[in-house]
């Protein structure tokens, strides 16, 4: 089933605080009251309920405004916003589908789209898109295409950037941020040799994403194939970087939070993560923030930007009025809505072509402020933003297989096992499970 979201994948703006808990309770009461009100009222307009994950109460103004606008334009239906925790959304939806009363739209991530599409629990939406289909970025549409059919309306996205410490770069004699993955590694070595500081902390806890980023297939023709010479060479690069101290010793334990902490204390030269991390640097480490430059994360051999995590809206099977649901889906994900939402979050990006060209994103390019710069840089990367995961349902025992892969890759990178032997072991274990 879907890979759990890391903290990074749920933009930090969506985190829940105590204040929000109180609001939640209030909201529950409000929703409860609303449900009764709707039940009591004669069926005047058909209700289109749409669910989002972790967007209340922070983005209440945005959704209120959108809902009001939509309802004013469509008298026969009435959109209703319900927000819930990301881990409740799936079980609740499954229950609602089973009970025959699913909502009109549900906010999903990419792995879930693939999974529910494979189960037949969500509807293809291409037929409702019409010309609007061309408004979305092709990469975003590809993310939510299952067996040639588009299954969701792409919504907001995020993508990794490189934030680098200009002082450390200068000391190491590095002139510019890396343009390719190999350059990232060479620059890293240079930084380590000249300054003694570790260069960066790659996201090693999801190596599947790394392989995708490098354009290396994991499974072909129902067999695991990640022990080929290219895969071995790719992992070897990390092993070498680990050995020479380019990557910190505890790299496998470093997630979003730890990476920010390392960068903010000057222990790594580059932060390779989502732009919202810079917000934290701005508040927690003013001195480092003042020395920060921003560049795009190099597009790998996979021709993909790194670190994307697309959110979208799907139409569940059995929803009463799919056409109206799609209309709402298109409205919530059109250029106007997406730009407004990005302005509200300050750290996410539209998945529409025009959206990313909005002055809001592009004016930052020449700004002195790293956060504004990062916004411009990341918006430019959106064209290549693909969410890097193995579609759910492909792996018969995802938890165990991912675990095996991660363990072996960790052995290889930390130098306990030759890379080839480690990948062979993981491939053998995968194939044993895939053959069943």
């Amino acid at each position: 089933m879907g890979v759990l979201l890391s903290e990074e994948e749920i933009p930090s703006v969506l985190s829940i605080t105590q204040e929000e808990d109180k609001m939640k309770l209030k909201k529950m009461l409000v929703v409860g009251a609303a449900v009764f009100a709707v039940a009591a009222q004669a069926q005047a307009a058909e209700t289109l309920e749409f669910w989002t994950m972790n967007l209340a109460p922070k983005f209440e103004p945005f959704f209120k405004e959108r809902v009001a606008k939509f309802n004013a334009a469509n008298k026969d239906v009435e959109a209703k916003w319900v927000d819930m925790n990301w881990d409740q959304i799936q079980p609740k939806l499954v229950a609602a589908i089973a009970a025959g009363s699913p909502p009109a739209l549900v906010n999903f991530n990419v792995p879930w789209v693939h999974e529910f599409a494979a189960q037949g629990n969500i509807l293809p939406v291409e037929q409702y898109m019409g010309a609007a289909k061309n408004d979305y970025l092709p990469a975003a549409l590809k993310d939510v295409t299952v067996k040639g059919q588009v299954y969701a309306f792409p919504f907001y996205n995020s993508v990794s950037i490189i934030a680098y410490n200009k002082d450390i770069f200068e000391k190491a004699g590095v002139k510019a941020a890396p343009k390719s993955f190999d350059e990232l590694m060479t620059i890293g070595k240079q930084i380590k040799d000249k300054t003694g500081v570790a260069a960066f902390a790659p996201k090693l806890s999801n190596f599947t994403g790394m392989f995708y980023y490098a354009g290396l297939p994991m499974i072909e023709g129902g067999k695991a194939v990640f022990n080929g010479p290219k895969h071995v060479a790719f992992v070897q690069k990390f092993a070498d970087a680990y050995k020479s101290g380019v990557i910190p010793k505890d790299a496998f334990k470093i997630e979003f939070e730890q990476e920010i902490a390392l960068y903010n204390s000057g222990k790594i030269a580059m932060m390779t993560t989502a732009p919202q991390a810079l917000k934290r640097t701005e508040t927690d480490a003013k001195a480092i923030y003042g020395k920060t430059g921003v560049a795009a994360f190099p597009v790998g051999e996979g021709k993909m930007a790194f670190g994307a995590w697309l959110m979208d809206f799907v139409v569940p099977k059995g929803t009463k009025n799919p056409a109206a649901a799609a209309k709402l889906g298109l409205f919530l994900t059109n250029d106007e809505s997406q730009v407004a939402f990005s302005k509200a979050t300050e750290t996410t990006f539209p998945s529409t072509k025009k959206g990313n060209l909005d002055p809001y994103f592009q004016t930052g390019a020449n700004s002195a402020d790293p956060v504004d710069q990062a916004r411009a840089v990341a918006a430019k990367s959106m064209d290549n933003a693909r969410t890097l995961t193995i579609p759910p349902g492909v792996l018969p025992d995802e938890a165990a297989m991912t675990k095996k892969l991660q363990d072996e890759v960790q052995n290889a990178i930390e130098g306990r096992k030759p890379v080839k032997a480690a990948l062979d072991a993981a491939v053998a274990a995968w194939n044993e499970k895939l053959a069943k």
Binding site: Q119, N121, K249, D250, F252, K253, D397, A400, K403
Partner: protein
């Protein structure tokens, strides 16, 4: 005559509140888990279909589960260590000396600390450039500089034992308090008589204290055995199951909430329960009263 029947009825009446709660929160979940373990659970419909022990066959062949089970059983090493230490510490703080209350409180603080918060602290102890490495470098057990830096919870050779140390630190105060209660139930006369008979402290500890707190020892060993087999929280917060610290319960959680395979998770949970039962029986034999 007020026959024994009505007494029994009254007895059950008094037991009812506890039994009802246990029924809802213990017996029913165990029963339902057992039922789930023998079938395929469909998340959509909630139906369970009998699958001819398929989950158990899968687990029988699943190396990762064997490995996880091995780690959980290895975790049992902590039990004697923590019990003996807790008993000794309890004995020490049971003296009527100034400052004893403070010591009791100090030993008990880790028990009250939330696992996740304590883990943040310990991560900094175990970090490759953390306190533990610094300490060993300072006393020249490890070489200075980068070569002497050990990633204590990142290295498979040490990680599980380091997690055990965390468990030890966190649990010792809890068992100490239980032993204290047991010790305070021993009348001082017995101890005095032994002193008159010329028994030294060592003899008094083994011949008097240990036999008299035997019921407490049984309870504590049982509790800590079950806690050891169920080790998951510590692993989750310290290592996320990396570096060969994956435990049986971690496997259960992964199967349930990453694969959504509740049937297989239930079967794995049942296997863990089975091991708990076996160990409990052994301990009752060993520490329990013969009659």
């Amino acid at each position: 005559m007020k026959n024994s029947n009505s007494y029994t009825a009254i007895a059950y009446l008094f037991l009812a509140p506890a039994l009802i709660l246990m029924g809802i929160f213990t017996f029913w979940p165990v029963a339902f888990n057992t039922y789930l373990a023998f079938g395929n659970y469909d998340l959509g419909s909630g139906h369970v279909t009998w699958n001819n022990f398929e989950h158990f066959k899968y687990l029988y062949k699943e190396e990762l589960f064997h490995h996880a089970l091995k780690n959980s059983l290895l975790y049992l090493l902590i039990v004697p260590v923590i019990q003996i230490s807790a008993l000794v510490v309890a004995k020490l703080v049971n003296n009527k000396l100034p400052g004893m209350t403070m010591f009791r409180a100090i030993y008990y603080i880790p028990v009250i600390a939330a696992v996740s918060i304590a883990a943040v602290v310990w991560q900094n102890v175990y970090k490759y450039d953390g306190i533990l490495t610094w300490f060993f470098q300072m006393i020249h057990v490890l070489p200075e500089g980068v070569d002497g830096q050990i990633d204590w919870i990142g290295n498979p050779d040490t990680a599980l034992y380091m997690v055990m140390v965390f468990t030890f630190w966190k649990g010792i105060g809890y068992y100490m308090v239980l032993y204290l209660a047991g010790l305070q139930a021993i009348s001082p006369e017995i101890e005095e008589a032994a002193i008159l008979d010329g028994a030294n402290a060592w003899q008094r500890f083994w011949k008097i204290t240990v036999p008299l707190v035997k019921p407490t020892i049984l309870l504590c060993t049982l509790l800590s055995t079950i806690a050891a087999i169920k080790s998951f929280q510590e692993v989750m917060v310290l290592t996320k199951g990396q570096a060969d610290t994956y435990t049986a319960l971690y496997y259960v959680i992964d199967q349930a909430f990453r694969n959504y395979n509740f049937g297989r998770a239930a079967a794995a949970g049942l296997v863990v329960t089975f091991f708990c039962m076996i160990l409990a029986i052994i301990q009752f034999r060993f520490f329990g009263d013969k009659n």
